[in-house]
């Protein structure tokens, strides 16, 4: 059973979080300048000696892929978070059947690879649907035919399970005294949840949430394996069209690094709005 700090350690270890951003002051030291010069040389060699002539041709498609990646990221993070709140809450206070259900859901999802879940939904479940004429005729069919709903579903479920565990810790970790204080001043249960418990839990979970969102970004390329054209799929196409091995992958890594960087900076701004001290 992992308590909040546990998840936190691992999430942080796996994802860049705002703490990792270098502080602007004190960044430039003599050895750094040398290292930067070497790095610049390396980048120059990469730009000069490798093949980049394919970029202009694929630029529009890359842009489109990035949009899809971001759309996947945001839609699934938001949906997943909305699911995670009840998942976490139920595990802390719910009646035992719900508690067991939520716990089981989190364990199963966290215990199996996302790639497998994705394929299970798309190739497994998705190929069952057309066998039911009712579904085939329903208004949902045009969507069920597409591949992105399966990607969204799998990523949402996965985010919900991981974040649900975080929210469980966060809910459980809100000091009992703060909740008691709210009760002592006559708050009703709903007011207490809405005004104190939930915001306080989110506040506690925010640093981990940052990490989890970066992890979610890192999980998005998997949807390319079920024919969603995200930036990864675009790059795969470049590789297959041109038979260039390394360059597109390097560009892809660079794109993800930039996306991660932007995400992390955005989160840092958000986190700075409510300062926390110490842990």
């Amino acid at each position: 059973m992992s308590e909040t700090p546990t998840t936190d350690i691992t999430t942080h270890a796996m994802a860049i979080t705002p703490e990792d951003l270098p502080a602007a002051e004190g960044f430039f030291k003599p050895h750094r300048i040398v290292l930067l010069a070497i790095a610049a040389g390396l980048v120059f060699c990469i730009v000069w000696f490798m093949r980049w002539d394919w970029i202009p041709q694929y630029l529009p498609r890359l842009g489109y892929g990035i949009m899809i990646t971001l759309a996947m990221l945001f839609s699934t993070s938001i949906l997943g978070f909305l699911l995670a709140v009840p998942l976490g809450l139920v595990q802390v206070t719910g009646p035992w059947p719900l508690k067991a259900l939520a716990k089981g859901f989190c364990t199963v999802v966290r215990g199996t690879p996302l790639l497998l879940q994705l394929w299970l939904l798309y190739y497994g479940l998705g190929s069952l649907f057309p066998q039911f004429p009712a579904i085939r005729q329903s208004f949902l069919w045009p969507y069920l035919r597409e591949s992105w709903p399966y990607g969204v579903a799998a990523l949402t479920i996965s985010f919900a399970a991981y974040e649900g565990e975080v929210m469980r810790g966060a809910f459980a970790g809100v000091p009992a005294g703060e909740i008691e204080a709210a009760r002592a001043y006559g708050m009703s249960r709903w007011t207490l949840f809405r005004r104190i418990w939930l915001p306080r839990a989110i506040h506690r979970a925010l640093p981990t949430l940052t990490g989890e969102t970066v992890l979610q970004l890192k999980a998005t390329p998997l949807v390319a394996t079920i024919t969603v054209i995200d930036v990864y799929a675009v790059i795969s196409k470049v590789r297959q069209d041109t038979y260039i091995t390394y360059e597109p992958l390097l560009l892809l890594a660079l794109i993800y690094m930039c996306l991660t960087g932007i995400l992390v900076i955005a989160f840092r701004t958000l986190e700075n709005r409510i300062p926390t001290r110490g842990a």
Partner: protein
């Protein structure tokens, strides 16, 4: 000497290559590979590689040749080299039985057509159908494309006619789909048949392989094992 590593696409591509439950590979190309290696007196081991990365695997020496129904095209020749062709079959389009359309740009307008990624079919479909109002969806494996056609997520699938034939004969294919026709040829894209992919500059190997292909054609081995799979001459013209 080191045995030569023959790269197969890890994804099943019946009836040419597909693994069975005991992990053995079977299919026409497996028999072809055995015959070739025996003929050329090469020691070969089958090495499954993701189709998607099979050319990089060859150039980075993870494998030494590709026997994977890979058509000889201009584009590929820029990166790797090929032996002479060892089979050549026309390209077809299949679709659900319930619908009727032709395998032409007009017939496929507005439809979603599935192809395997990194194939001549993908290039062809993009050029002839994609630019004329059809949506081309790319799959990692032929199998998945077929499956999605059966699942109703696709309106058509373009592929090698033999692979399509095998699918149409399967339980799944029999039920749902039929052949809509062959596509108009474009040798520049569809290429001059399927050859063994090898690294550039390995001319000695290339010569050996070419000689072996000739030999098994001549001594009847080729026809013997082909008969098990096909009732026509896959070598083509």
């Amino acid at each position: 000497a080191e045995p030569l590593k023959v790269g197969f696409a890890a994804e099943p591509y019946p009836p040419f290559t597909s693994p069975d439950a005991s992990g053995n590979w079977e299919g026409w190309e497996v028999e072809f590979e055995k015959a070739i290696c025996a003929e050329a007196k090469l020691e070969c081991v089958i090495t499954p590689v993701a189709w998607d990365g099979i050319i990089p695997a060859l150039t980075s020496k993870k494998i030494d040749m590709i026997i994977g129904s890979m058509s000889i095209t201009e584009e590929r020749l820029k990166t790797i080299d090929f032996s002479d062709k060892y089979y050549n079959t026309p390209t077809g389009v299949i679709g659900p039985k319930s619908e009727t359309f032709e395998a032409t740009p007009e017939g496929l307008k507005g439809k979603t057509i599935g192809v395997q990624v990194s194939t001549i079919h993908q290039v062809y479909a993009s050029k002839y159908f994609g630019e004329n109002g059809a949506t081309v969806k790319e799959y990692q494996t032929q199998d998945e494309a077929n499956n999605d056609l059966a699942a109703g997520r696709l309106d058509a699938v373009q592929a090698d006619s033999i692979a399509l034939g095998a699918f149409l004969k399967s339980d799944q294919g029999k039920e749902c789909c039929d052949l809509k026709g062959m596509v108009k040829d474009d040798p520049a894209i569809l290429g001059a048949g399927v050859g063994i992919g090898i690294r550039k500059g390995e001319d000695e190997l290339k010569a050996k392989l070419n000689a072996a292909i000739k030999a098994i054609r001549a001594n009847g081995t080729y026809d013997t094992f082909s008969k098990k799979y096909f009732d026509f001459d896959v070598y083509g013209q």
